[in-house]
């Protein structure tokens, strides 16, 4: 009987897979993800695409907020930067997708640096509100820089194509997003088990103590900002290709708040939690759509939206109240019960 996971050396402590079982499950998951679009309807594939794109961005946010403990409401701003970079480069300058994606990431990372530097002295809620200010300022800049961004009319992006192969349908685009998501997850997991990730954790727990122990806090905070906004920028670019149209309205503060609520629902600081949180929050919206839609036209269209908003708010509140560790917390508890049964621990 397996009684627990015991790490006996440092290399075991930081290994990507802690035991063979995890490896098998990961392989199974990847295989499932590869065959999934063959079984799903077009609508569902599109939904899953949206989820995976959001997941890329939320994994990035999780590195900043969950791992490094810097609360950011700047998600919408970085998403907008990424999406607009991709849209402008592809629609106006005809750049190919494989160039647009990293370009968006780098652009967002540059903005991350710009936001990061003034934020070095700020902590907690001051930082949260400053990043929120960034989102508001960015949307304003996009609206007023009409020569580049087309202002409030928005930009239509061309169909995604990579190395000459057009990814016209959602199902073909799915594989590209899946590949990027996989890279994102691997990147995040590897950052976390490296020196940088441990420095992030030290900063989250107590940044002065981290500094005393020799972590250059300012530099690592900037790393966190840059890496996180790179992720979010790439997600923004994918979003531009997925929706095929970018407009400032898609990047309101609500997006930032939704992103933070996703990592909280999933479980702060865990990459898997970030992904689960995205699936839960976006899935909840979809299920509510379906339920309210099947109830028929008894409700006006305005109240459908409001009802969704209400249930969404309630979910956040209830999660924080009863399960502050998020869905990952529930999973861990369940796993412990399962492994140790019939004993308590």
């Amino acid at each position: 009987m397996r009684t627990g996971v015991f790490e006996e050396s440092y290399s075991e402590l930081i290994s990507l897979y802690r035991n063979p079982t995890q490896t098998y499950w990961t392989v199974a998951l990847v295989l499932a993800a590869l065959v999934a679009p063959l079984l799903l309807t077009n609508h569902l594939t599109s939904l899953v695409n949206g989820m995976m794109i959001a997941a890329v961005g939320v994994i990035g946010l999780n590195l900043l907020t969950g791992t490094t403990g810097l609360i950011s409401f700047g998600q919408a701003g970085f998403l907008a930067v990424g999406a607009y970079t991709a849209a402008v480069l592809s629609a106006d300058y005809g750049m190919p997708l494989w160039l647009c994606l990293p370009a968006s990431g780098l652009m967002a990372a540059a903005f991350g640096l710009i936001v990061g530097i003034p934020s070095l002295r700020l902590k907690g809620l001051y930082l949260a509100i400053t990043t929120m200010a960034f989102t508001i300022i960015i949307t304003h800049i996009i609206l007023s820089a009409e020569d580049i961004t087309h202002g409030s009319s928005g930009i239509s992006t061309p169909k995604p194509a990579i190395f000459g192969v057009e990814l016209a349908t959602d199902k073909s685009f799915y594989y590209l997003i899946l590949a990027i998501l996989t890279l994102a997850i691997l990147g995040s997991a590897n950052i976390k088990r490296s020196r940088i990730g441990r420095a992030f954790l030290a900063i989250r727990e107590q940044d002065i103590a981290a500094r005393v122990m020799g972590v250059p806090v300012a530099r690592y905070k900037l790393y966190a900002f840059v890496v996180s906004s790179f992720y979010v920028g790439v997600a923004g670019a994918l979003m531009a290709y997925h929706i095929r149209f970018v407009n400032v309205d898609s990047f309101s503060l609500v997006i930032s708040i939704e992103a933070v609520s996703m990592i909280i629902v999933g479980g702060l600081g865990s990459t898997a939690g970030a992904v689960i949180g995205v699936v839960f929050v976006l899935g909840l919206a979809e299920v509510l759509n379906y339920v309210i839609g099947s109830m028929g036209g008894t409700l006006g269209s305005v109240s459908v939206l409001e009802l969704k908003g209400f249930i969404y708010g309630l979910t956040i509140v209830l999660f924080l109240r009863f399960e502050p560790e998020g869905l990952m917390g529930i999973y861990r508890e369940f796993k412990n019960r399962w492994v140790n049964w019939p004993f308590r621990y």
Partner: protein, 290 residues
């Protein structure tokens, strides 16, 4: 010069509203170290309630305000009891997220009950106003200035002289010590929420009278953020002063520099100010011990 005076005066008129809203944020932060992201929404909720009251009974402005003060105190206490108190002892950030969830809920509830169309808050002061030379101010705007002054004075007296106010300052200074000295900290929290809701109610009624009601009234809460940050999150009086500063600044930047700057000039200013003074103009720097 006339243009300058015009911009400044109308800036002050909107700034006092920011100041009032900001005081609510600052009070809650001071007492409980939580930023109440639902403050703008509470304000919206109460101004819609004021609409319902004003349309069922014909009340004079002050009567309406008094009823709303009473109602908002109850709203504040209920919110504290139902949503905030269960979060006691948890991470501050979790409580902040609860207020965000609450904000989303209140927005939905307001539209579900009162609909999404803009409404006018009927009061007896209506469109009347006073002209000072070339500057015209609505009576309601004058009342707003007076009410801000009254709230600042009231808060000062409360925090300086009343037993509860002193207890609140003690809790703000060090919660655990306050608890050990026999202060009922949960009680202090509840009172802080009630007072903040009252201030939100006052600003809601004023906003409803001056600009009318709409489902986006809560964004005024967002617009007041620069004021609180500029003043320092924990400085109630700083919020009042910097509210006026931000209001004037928004108007001047819009008038002299460019269209649309009104929306963001406040946020730009706090970015600069925070780089120099990370705790705002009047905030207390936090001394950290490891």
């Amino acid at each position: 010069m006339d243009y300058f005076i015009l911009l400044t005066v109308s800036g002050i008129a909107i700034g006092v509203i920011y100041g009032l809203i900001g005081m609510g944020y600052a009070l809650i932060f001071k007492a409980t170290s939580v930023v109440n992201f639902a403050h703008g929404e509470i304000m919206m909720l109460i101004s819609y309630m004021a609409f319902s009251i004003a349309s069922s009974w014909t009340l004079p402005f002050w009567g309406l305000l008094l009823v709303c003060v009473f109602i908002s105190a109850i709203v504040g206490l209920v919110i504290e009891r139902v949503f905030i108190r269960p979060m006691l002892g948890q991470d501050v950030f979790s409580t902040v997220m609860v207020t965000i969830g609450l904000a989303v809920m209140i927005r939905a509830v307001v539209v579900l009950i009162w609909g999404a169309d803009p409404l006018l808050l009927p009061t007896d002061i209506g469109d009347s106003g006073v002209e000072f030379g070339m500057v015209f101010l609505y009576t309601s705007q004058l009342y707003a200035i007076g009410l801000l002054a009254f709230c600042v004075l009231g808060m000062w007296v409360f925090l300086r002289f009343s037993r509860m106010g002193v207890a609140m300052r003690a809790t703000a200074a060090r919660e655990t010590t306050a608890l050990l000295m026999g202060i009922n900290v949960t009680h202090v929290y509840a009172i802080a929420w009630a007072i903040a809701a009252v201030i939100a109610g006052i600003s809601g009624v004023l906003l409803g009278t001056i600009y009318g009601l709409g489902p986006d009234l809560w964004t005024q809460g967002l617009r007041a953020f620069p004021a609180v940050i500029l003043g320092g999150l924990d400085s109630v009086f700083g919020a009042a002063i910097s509210g006026i500063l931000i209001g004037v600044l928004e108007n001047l930047s819009e008038g002299y520099i460019g269209q649309g700057l009104k929306e963001i000039s406040g946020f730009l200013v706090i970015l600069v100010v925070l780089m120099i003074r990370p705790y705002g103009l009047f905030g207390t720097p936090e001394i950290e011990r490891v």
